[in-house]
Symmetry: C2
Subunit: 261 residues, 2 copies
């Protein structure tokens, strides 16, 4: 394969949420999925059937006869898994937000292909808007990865490891932590026999608002207004949920301080 | 005015975010806005010009010659302001999530007209999807309020004070607290010269996901996976933001416990 060829075939190590969504988008864009390796046999079989590819049971075989190997595996295992694959000159990339590109430095050609999104198998999503953060150890591969990413997303960027780590950290905050707030609200409403559906338009609007307005301007509510009476009343209501009361206290105090100190 | 007449004219006490958005929706639906009273003279003048109504400077005059008086004022002032208005038999409602309907019991006809949404003057919104939580001290007025609310929203419900308070509490959590997470992420990214725009598709998807999937199923990320290495790395990255580190610690621990204990 010449360096100037476009990436036409890939294989996956991993068959979880990220692997599945990425493979689907690539598959739909006409990229050949050659094989999948995964410790989870059930997931691997399902993946292989969906994308008409082979299940490989020996990890040392995964980088053969393809243009790019994608490691879509838990963040904590990237370096170790990469080291177990012999370098045959194939481009190897990881999809992790937190791992430096250098985690793959045992290979001669390597890079990062990080889609900044929350993926669940239960839910389809539009890959076109997903920001892809790319990095590579040589410009030829970076260019080829860019062309590949553009086939599935219109939101592709070159981002170094340091900036990508900041994005990963804040992604946890705006996504996992917000979802936790949805979760505890669900629990609280359920305890009072109230449907979570009531909150859905508010959740949507809160997210849409910061597309247009700075989060400082977008803030509303009792802590923003320094309305101590309401804050105290809410704290009292949460006495049967001591863990959620801690969340309420910490976040309200921080909001209040941001606007009133 | 007969009890069976529909509500055709209203006046406002208050000229803030809620008053402005509510008045706009009612105005567009052909409801007459007769007057506004507000301690904020500048806001009141702007409001009066926008909705072609009078500015009233004496609060005791506000309930005259209308079908319904709307108190769109800070939660902590509802009872006190209501008590300062003489009862002339006009229906008086508040728009507060936290106040019991009985805060208005000095009037002969009273109720609650609570739109569950985050309102900022800088941003237009579609009132049609906003849940309205209604309550009244008599069925005639409840019916009339229902018909009025249906003119501006297709999401109208009868909700008692206890359930409304739970909705208000959880609204603070999913909206104000999520927005605070957007705010601190904005600060963190800014410190590293990274654009907040990267996070917008993720914020949108996180909000859209819980429209379809239970928040428990929707959860992803390092705490969900019990990935201690990443959690520790993020904590280290936050050492220059001790307050945000506290948020990271508390919420990560709660997510981890929900899934791994």
């Amino acid at each position: 394969l010449s360096d100037t060829n476009s990436i036409e075939t890939v294989s996956f190590v991993g068959s979880g949420n990220v692997a599945t969504h990425l493979a689907l988008a690539l598959f739909k864009a006409g990229i050949g999925i050659k094989s999948v390796f995964s410790p989870n046999k059930l997931n691997a079989d399902e993946f292989a059937e969906k994308f008409k590819c082979q299940v490989v049971s020996d990890i040392t075989e995964t980088a053969k006869s393809i243009d790019m190997l994608i490691l879509a595996i838990p963040d904590s295992r990237v370096a170790e898994v990469c080291n177990s694959i012999p370098d045959n000159g194939t481009l190897v990339v990881h999809t992790s937000g937190i791992n430096a590109m250098e985690a793959l430095k045992s290979k001669s050609r390597y890079g990062v292909f990080y889609p900044l999104q929350t993926f669940s198998k239960e839910r389809e999503l539009d890959m076109k808007t997903v920001p892809f953060c790319l990095e590579a150890n040589n410009n030829n591969d970076l260019q080829r990865m860019y062309e590949l990413a553009k086939k599935i997303s219109s939101n592709v960027h070159f981002v170094n490891s340091k900036k990508r780590k900041l994005l990963h950290l804040t992604a946890v905050m705006v996504s996992n932590f917000s979802n936790h707030l949805y979760h505890l609200s669900y629990d609280i409403l359920e305890s009072g026999g109230v449907s979570f559906d009531f909150l859905k338009p508010l959740i949507q609007e809160t997210a849409s608002k910061v597309e247009e307005i700075h989060p400082h301007k977008a803030q509303t509510g009792p802590a923003r207004r320094n309305d101590i009476t309401t804050l105290e009343e809410h704290m009292k209501m949460l006495s049967q949920f001591p863990e959620y009361q801690q969340v309420y206290k910490l976040l309200s105090e921080q909001i209040r301080k941001k606007f009133h100190e």
